[in-house]
Each structure stands twice: as C-alpha cells, then as structure tokens.
Symmetry: D2
Subunit: 363 residues, 4 copies
Amino acid sequence: MSHNTFGHLFRVTTWGESHGVAIGCVVDGCPPLIPLTEADIQGYLDKRRPGQSKYTTQRRELDQVQILSGVMTDTDSVQKTTGTPISLMIENVDQRSKDYSEIALSYRPGHADYTYDAKYGIRDYRGGGRSSARETAMRVAAGAIARKIIGDITVRGALVQVGPHRIDRDRWDWDAVDANPFFCPDPVTAENWATFLDEVRKSGSSTGAVIEIVADNVPAGLGAPIYGKLDTEIAAALMSINAVKGVEIGNGFEAAAISGEENADEMRMGNDGVRFLSNKAGGVLGGISSGQPVVARFAVKPTSSILTPRQTITADGEETDIVTKGRHDPCVGIRAVPVGEAMVACVLADHLLRHRGQVGTTG
Amino acid sequence: MSHNTFGHLFRVTTWGESHGVAIGCVVDGCPPLIPLTEADIQGYLDKRRPGQSKYTTQRRELDQVQILSGVMTDTDSVQKTTGTPISLMIENVDQRSKDYSEIALSYRPGHADYTYDAKYGIRDYRGGGRSSARETAMRVAAGAIARKIIGDITVRGALVQVGPHRIDRDRWDWDAVDANPFFCPDPVTAENWATFLDEVRKSGSSTGAVIEIVADNVPAGLGAPIYGKLDTEIAAALMSINAVKGVEIGNGFEAAAISGEENADEMRMGNDGVRFLSNKAGGVLGGISSGQPVVARFAVKPTSSILTPRQTITADGEETDIVTKGRHDPCVGIRAVPVGEAMVACVLADHLLRHRGQVGTTG
Amino acid sequence: MSHNTFGHLFRVTTWGESHGVAIGCVVDGCPPLIPLTEADIQGYLDKRRPGQSKYTTQRRELDQVQILSGVMTDTDSVQKTTGTPISLMIENVDQRSKDYSEIALSYRPGHADYTYDAKYGIRDYRGGGRSSARETAMRVAAGAIARKIIGDITVRGALVQVGPHRIDRDRWDWDAVDANPFFCPDPVTAENWATFLDEVRKSGSSTGAVIEIVADNVPAGLGAPIYGKLDTEIAAALMSINAVKGVEIGNGFEAAAISGEENADEMRMGNDGVRFLSNKAGGVLGGISSGQPVVARFAVKPTSSILTPRQTITADGEETDIVTKGRHDPCVGIRAVPVGEAMVACVLADHLLRHRGQVGTTG
Amino acid sequence: MSHNTFGHLFRVTTWGESHGVAIGCVVDGCPPLIPLTEADIQGYLDKRRPGQSKYTTQRRELDQVQILSGVMTDTDSVQKTTGTPISLMIENVDQRSKDYSEIALSYRPGHADYTYDAKYGIRDYRGGGRSSARETAMRVAAGAIARKIIGDITVRGALVQVGPHRIDRDRWDWDAVDANPFFCPDPVTAENWATFLDEVRKSGSSTGAVIEIVADNVPAGLGAPIYGKLDTEIAAALMSINAVKGVEIGNGFEAAAISGEENADEMRMGNDGVRFLSNKAGGVLGGISSGQPVVARFAVKPTSSILTPRQTITADGEETDIVTKGRHDPCVGIRAVPVGEAMVACVLADHLLRHRGQVGTTG
C-alpha cells in the first residue's frame, strides 16, 4: 500500500507534518557508489524554499537537510551512497502554531481539513499538518538523489501560465527561467506576471498556474505497459502534488480536438537513428519512451487561503465564515516548479533501474 | 512491480495480445459472498464491443467472457465469489493476421511499434499485440466486478467532446447517453457529431475526444494521502488507457485560470451534514473524497490508423510511407467511455476495501 | 497485497481451484527474447504429476499446459518470450466431485476446511478447492520459466527424510534422485523407504517428509538486506507450499546447538577468488548470496487424509467422525520436491533481475 | 521492492547503520486515534537493550526513542496517532569506531562483510553498518505500535534452547520468563544455562539458541492463501532477523517424522465454538488462523565474533586470520526474543487490518 511511498525500485517514503518536530524521507533503492553530500540536495531545496520573493509565502523555512544514513566516505575520501536506505531530515524551525487557532475549529474551503476529519476523526490543524505543501520539500530532496541516478538525462521545469496569462512559446528561453522569480521561460510575459501577481497579492487573493516539465536525453525504451507506463506514472506523480487538478502528456487535451493526420509524429532517419518530425506524443508511445524529450504539464489550483471571507462550517456543524490570516502565497504554482521536476526525475530514475533489470537477460 | 497489474487490495492483472489465443485477467482481492455470474460482466463488455455502429471499428469481437475460477454455487443455489482469485478469459475469435503483414516491417507513427521494439527487441505486430486496445476489454470485465463491491456508488461516463465539438452542459441528460451511439449526454450535440464523424470516417481520417466520468454516492473519507490519493490513482488509472494524453479532476486546467475566491467550494449545513455550494474540486480534497460526486475527465488522441499515407521508417532503418488499411475506428474515444467507467469503479473498490481496513481499529 | 502473487520483478499470480474448469497462472516480468515452448514447461509438470507410482495419489491429472500469451515466433522461427505477461493454463480433466459430499459438511482435521469457512463464510469443498495442492502445478510451471532466466544456475531437489527415516549423506548421489520414485539421493535408503511407504499406504495412514533444495552456480551478490533477503524470500516461498511446517537455510536448527568456532565458514583464496572451507551458512550471509551453493530444507507434514476415523465437527456445530475415502497420498512430501525446486528457481530469477537493476548504475 | 520495508497495510521501513548518526523507522498504515507515547515504545526497547546482564554484549545502547511525526495531542489531552506516518528515531550515542579498523580490511567469517562488498562494492564496516543487529531496535519499536493495534491478542516469547541445552516443557511457566536474564520459561534450566553461558563467555566463544513465540487470542480467519499466508509471513518475518537459520510453525520439523493420525488436531465442540484437542498445527491451517494460539520457533546461529582466530581473506585477496576483539555477545539469541515477538506482532497487525478490509463487503 503506497500511501506515503512512491516508486518501485527507487522508493521514497516521506513523513512529517508542517508544524511537527521535523519532516523527512527514506530513499530506498539508490544504487551504491554514487557521490552524495548534503550540498547536492540543498541546492534544489533552496530553489523551492519560500520567502525568496514577494510572490511566494513569507513563511521562513530554512530547510537545512541532514543525511542520517546510507552514505559513507570511501577510501578515496569521497562520500558515497552504500546501497542502503538514505534517511533525510529537515528540522522544522518556524512553527508559529499560534496562527492556527481558528482552523482548529473551522474547515477551510478547498483544503483537506474536512476530509481528513471525515477519514481519520482527528487532524493536525497546525499549518495544515500532513496535507501541507511542506511535505513537498522531501520530494525535492529525493529528486536531487534521483538526478544523480539518471545521469545525462536532464529534467527542467518552467511556469507557462499564471491565472489566465500564458507565455508566448515562440519566446521560450531556458536561460530566462532562472532570471525571474517565476521560473518563466518568456522574459516579456514574466514582467506582465509581476504586475498581475502584485495585484493578486495586494488584494489578498490567489491565482492558479500551469507548469511544464521537460526531460531531455531520455533513452528510448523506458517505461512499461500496461499499468506501469512511463506517462501513467508521471501523471500519478504530478497529480499527487498538492493542489494539482490536471495533468497532460505531450499535446494533452489539444489532442482531442485535432485529426489523426495532424497528430501523427512522422519519422525519418537521422544521423543517430530515428528522427521524429514532431513531438505531439510528448516522448511517450504506448507507455514507453521514444527517445524524444518527455514533456508533461500540470495545473495547480489557486490556494484557498485568501483574505476574502468564505462560507464554511465548523467541526461541530455550525455555519460560519473563515478568513485565512497571516502569510499568504498568491500563486502556489510558482514553488511547484522544482517539485514537478523532482517528481519526474524520481519516475525516470525508477524506470531506468527497472529497465536495467529487464533487458538482455538470458542466462 | 505493477507492469500488468493495477490496484492494491482489489488487484487486477491482465494478459493477452490482440491476436493471440485469448485475453484474460485475474481479479484478486474480491470479497467473498458476492453474487457473480458471467451475465453480470457480459453486459458491460457488450457496451464496449466494437462494430455496434458505423462510428466504431467493424472488427468483430464477440467478447464472450468465461469465469474460470473464484466462484461457487452456494447452498442457496446462487453463484457467489469465494474470496479466491477470479480468472476471466475471452477467446479471440477474429484474428485476421493477414491484414498485418506491412506493420510487421514498418513502424506506424503514433503507435507503440517503434518503442516496443526499442524496449524488447521483439514485438507482436499482429493487431498491435499487447498494445492493442483489445486489452481494455479485461478492464471492463474487472470493472463489472468492482461495481459489485462498491454497492450504492454509481459510476457513469459520457463523451463530452469529439474533435473540436463540445457538448452544451446545460443540456446534460444522463438518459440521453444510451440513446445515441456516442454515449453523448446532449442529444443536440449528438446529432452534430453524427454528421462530423461521418465525414471523418469517409475521408479515412480520425478524431480525438474527451470523456467525463462521474461517481455518485461516494462516501466521504475514501482515499489516502500522500501518494495513494484518490485523485492520483484515478489519474493513473485513466492515463493508463490506450491513447489517453490528459486527465483532469473537477475543474482541472480551468482551475489554473481563476482566482481563489472563484475556486473555493463553500460549505453550509444541509439535512445530512455538510452541503457544498459548488464542486470545483471534483469531489476530492487533499486526496480524500468529500462526499460530493467524484468527477474526472480524460482526453483521447485520434488514432494514427488513417488512410492518408504518413512518413515513417522500417525496422531496418529504411524510410518509407505507411497507410493503415482494413477496418478503421474514426473515434476511438467513443469506446473509451465504458473503459473509463471501469477504471474509476476499480479505483473506488480498491479504496473502499482499504478504508475498511484502516478505521475504527483500536483493539 | 500479494495473496495470490509472489515475486517482485519476476511475478507469478496463480488462480484456480482443484475441481474448477481449469487452473492457471500469469507470469509477469519475464525478460523478452527467451526461447519458450510448452514442452519446456511440460517436462517439469510431468515430474510433479501424481499417479506415477503407487507412492503418490492415483488421482489422474494430465496437467497439459497451454501458453495463452506472451510468446511469439520470431523471424528465426523460434518461439520466444516478448516481455509481456505469459498466461499459462491447465484444464482440469479429472473432477470426481461425487467423492466430496461428506467434506462439504464436515471439517477435516488438519485441512483448511474450517479456517476457510471462518475467513470467507464460503468454501469450495470440491477436492480442497483453492487450498488443494493442485495449485502447486502452476508453481512448477512458473519455475520452468524461471529456470530459463537464471541460466547457469541449477536448482535441484531431493527427499532427505521420510517419516523418521533419514538418508545417509555420505551416500548422496544426485544421479540416484531420478532412479527411484522418491527423488531420494541415497539408493540404499530409497529401498528402505519403499518398504516403509508400502506399510503406510496399506494401513491407510500417511507420513511426513523433509526435502532439500540445492542451487549451484549462484553468483555472489544476489539478495538484499533487510527484508528482501535471499534466505528470507526462500523461506517464505517454501513455507507457502501446502503442508510445510518448517524451513531451514544451511545447517538450520543445528546451528542453535553448536559454537561459533564450529559454525564459522572460514575463507581461503582459491583459483577464482574466495574459497570457503565449509558451507554451514547455506550460501547466504546477511541475506546476500556468497557464491557457495544455496541450500534450503523444508518439512512437510503427513496429510490428514487418512482411513482412520478422526473426531471433528460439522459446519453446523455437530460433533462427528470423519474418514477420507478415495485416493490417498501416503507421503505428499514426495511430490513437493519439484515444487520446492520451482519456488527456489523463482526466487533466484527475481533476485537476479533485481540485481541487474541495482549495480553499476551511475549515469 | 521491499528491501528495507516489511508489511502491506501496516508497513515498516527501517533505516540507519550501527555507527551512523542515528537509526530509525517509518511506520505507515497505523490507524488513527490510538493513544501512543514514547513511553509505550521505550519499555519494549529496554527489554532488547544490550548490557543488561553479563550474558549479552556490554555495548552501551541507550536506545532513547523519539516520535517525530504521526501523533497529536487530541482535545482530551491524550496523545494519539493521526493516521499519518509515524517516524521514530534513536540517536546513536556509543559509536566506538576505533574498534573496527581491522574489519575494514578483513572479512569476518559468518558475517555479511564479504557479501556486502560483493553486492555493493562498498560497505560500512563500522560495527557492521546496516547488517548490524542494531537495526532490530527499530523492529522492536514498530512492534510496540503493532501491539496497540492487535488489542487483545498477546504476543510473548521465550528462549527454549541454548546451545545443546533445551528446556523441559513440563516446567513451562510464563512468569519465569522475566525472572531470569535469558527469557527462559523453565527456572531449573535457566540456572543450567547460567553455568553454561559463563563458560562460553569466559572462553570467548559463542553459542546458538532457539526462541519460541506464542500469540494468544488470535481470532480465527486471519491470513490469506496462497502467498500471503499467515505462517508464510511469520516465517519471512522471523527469517529476516539477523543470524536466523531456521523457522518452524507448530510442531515444525517434528511433523516430518510422525503419522497423519498423530498429527491431526481433532475437533470437538466447546462452549464458544470449536475446541481443538491438540495444536500440532501451531494455530494455522491453510495459511489462515484457526483461533488456537499461533506458535512459531526460530533458530539463531552463534555469532562469529569470537576470540579464537579464524582463517579469512582481506578485501585485497590476501589470506589472513581474524579475531573479533572488544565486546562480545556469547548468545545473541537472548536478545532476539523481543525482536521475534515484535515481528510476529507486526505480521498480526498487518493481517488484522487486511482482514477488516476484506470481509462483510457487499454493498
């Protein structure tokens, strides 16, 4: 039962609540002899960390990761994985539990407050408890390890839509992504988003977003029919991120509207084998990678933590209104970019390990 | 490793190729004492069966299911499940292997031909082999058993878009779904689709589609954070269906474009507990059902089996053109409706069994 | 949940009842391009088949296996695996349901009759239903495929104890195993067993047995701490066989009685690396193979199907006596030899595939 | 892949090396609303802790457990589980790495040194690293939580053999178990063991042992054919404990030597349903509990850490001798008693949760 675990050969189990002592994860199945230090992980965590611009929550999360097991300094003085489980932990340092007295009683619309109570009969209301996006820090940490396994495969993400405003794909520039606080690949749109998000922030409102993840240098042959498809597992990985409501592979929902002629990715011979004339499929055919870039997108809803009062009920069945005070995140989709990258990296690492186990195997 | 298996407590393992001796599945984890006959399953299979109108492939699949194990006639003369694995089999009766000589050599664009060869070094080219949509017959069969487990929960599907043509949601009528060959809930749009699909069919082209699945009477509390979320598993289940390129829960990608105020499903007290004022979330909050209808949509691409020649290569690296002769399916999305229903029913059955194991458990 | 499935990368799901239409299994995870025909499997099934001597049940099981999926005749005219699930089926041809009227009502001591009813509220009493040793035919079939994967590794089994009578290990001769109806490696003891088992058979009694399985040419490095240990999974595989009550690895329970000095397998250098001076460990250290032969033993209880009346109760709570009429198996342990071999082969195949996925993996 | 995870619905993932920063585990699947504090766990850890008598290693392990997640103080001021993963950690305080310089180079016979190197190409030689029995502390911790789930079911263990010396079963007294340093249920034998183990200890030798675990009040119906049998999973759980070489259920290997008449557990009606006249089966029939006490035994080999030099090789392929200096454990089997109890408790908790998910399920 994979309630808090994802992956098969590369397995990640996360634990911890937003305002508990710490959060952490156990990464099992990482091959041995891979150089790994806390610094390798910290860089990706810093990218996800809130409070880095006025467009994300000002909650202070230092997110200092510790490796508690699974590595050892080898005879060459390099710290390496040993093949045993890698335990990672981040201590929670900014636990303002006092902000959360109201939501102990009332269910915030659009949050998991009501459903956790319905399922468990108890819920950790402090900062959202287990349902907080804080859990995604451990996904990013695990993703940093996954990247070490997948080697030449690169996984990059970008924000392609904020509220109703989409980027212009003709201006796509990967170098621009790190040059603005939105992971936006289109510098012109990034400026428009700044204006838009200032308004959202000032009005205490929030907005949704769409993130695109692209994996390059994926070899052909990763994935597996029928229920372990590469795109199936990417879809699950992305849909499991907080606030995600939709996932697409390749041209996604656009495929529904066009003809078979338009949708076919025709093939010619290139210098290194097959050359596809387009990539409508997003790099996956029949659940198996084709050697083209793997392209996935996911939609993040606007957070329900807003200043406008919303109608709700209390745990005791009283009708009331609720306003989320304190620090706000006008667009939670921004910080979902490194999380989406990490999830795709984990799925690819998992499939790469599975692939090695399954081919060229006769005696 | 769940390559050909889905589910956790309610597990379905499918096997078989399009033009092999038979296809089948093993359903493990079905509770005992549930009345079950072949007729219970056959009805759903008939709904998926091709050749029922000119809008789906004329390939003859009788799809006569046999129950090989897991049931027994009880003392009350009713055939019931025994709690042991239920083995289902459908013999393949229409195996026109002669039609498939060309694709033994050439890779059809948009099909899994190339990627299967890249992964396995061998592929069953007859009718698409394992990657054929024929496999989905066993999903429908398993779904029929899942429906018996979920009891009062109903799972219904409808086609809501064909090519660029969407239904008018104000005309949604569940009764209309069975009154046209498209599972269309909007009778007016159904007629327009008939005209459109006639053209598509006559020109030897194909078109994509969007299917919506709605589960009513889902109790609050099904699902599980963080990686076993109800919506995550529905997304995976739907994305695993052949030709699916996108999945949405609730308002899906629309959520990206709107504000937190618009997206909040406010709550009031009703006669039987909470009453939600809207269902943007699609019945799932934090991965757990809220008691509202669970709503999911998925996009099916147009099949690449079309009469217009497409550029491709052969297994030997020669450039060539390919035309898919023989029987065509202008809109594979139509037959995906009962398949989507079945997948959602299976996920709900699985979560219902898990739910029973986890609550109210102290000594 | 692996109720009817074993293995991780090499997965076997079995189905079917003793007196149903058929029994079968689905083997998932078999690598592609392995030559495989029904004849490859049939040879091992014939070894397990009852009725081959007067020392095993005279029940007629033809056990003719069919491969329903997962193989294809390649361009070289050789039938090979394709990497997709291999479905195997054996039709049940000798279903004398009339023999089983009494046990529909009464619980046979030592059988699963009572516990199946306690768990499921229904049970297939015909020939033991799902709890019949008939299910082990599919283990043997799956084991035949596993042997193709493990290549040079050989897995052989022998009966080393029948009732209180043990073999003399100094006379161990693998060639003798196939020269007597007991799989006995000691020709002298085999003759004694013949006398002993004649008496057991004539008196309508039964006796237990101990089987030893030896795997040669196992490379060092298979297995995995902590819960996926090679010996742990062998123990589970053997204990899951019907009527097994004990499992040992290497010197097993004898290890409890001796000193650390006696128990140490000392090491010297040989021509091809390490040379162990003894094999008390049975080829496994810390859950990982050492390169020595893997040695496991398991104890099979005497079947409770005997002619002497035993006290029991009926499903209605009446006290009664029961005698098992019809065909008897004086020593079910004999037929457990090929089953034990198959289980060990499956575990080794699984670990071999896992091993390939996990080493030498940096980028 | 369950390398470092065991269980299905009640899942335990352990991590950590003997001389790393800490060891820990994540317990997933524990139902909510169960009162749980660190004190509940600490009591069982103290029972396993070394250094409590001269008969176990003098290594100082304080084993102070911390609960890092998954609990919350409820409105009634009682700390309870919330249904989310419970993360437990014990910091390592006694890490005398200096003792371990020699084994960095040489392989200790009977240890996992050689096989870890063969598998991973790297090994944490400090205190045995991951293969150290230190890992079993987390099993005991997880077992303490499992006991809370199984309620009225009690799980008790006892040492029944030390070296060649067995207890007299006629003198079995559960109250005696805690009154001697050996968990011995027979006070007379306990005194003999004291003498024997003094000699073993003084000579720097070691000895094996046999442990028996008994679970009382197990309801009928737990377990599941065919590969998820209750006895199969108990066998795996016990075999996964360090140094275990054999496992028995009920009368175990003795069953091989007796007749079907002797082995049958006859049934009569008692006041509360069925009454068995014996318990040769050890409480499990066909993999499902019968309502009788579940009885399992396991054999622990003598540790190879002894003062007598043993022949071995170095990682560089040099022949050498090795002596394990420092603290010794004359009989590691003593401390295996609470570990065995914990493993059986975990398996029972897992099956109890599964059982709840599977019965009484129509509509």
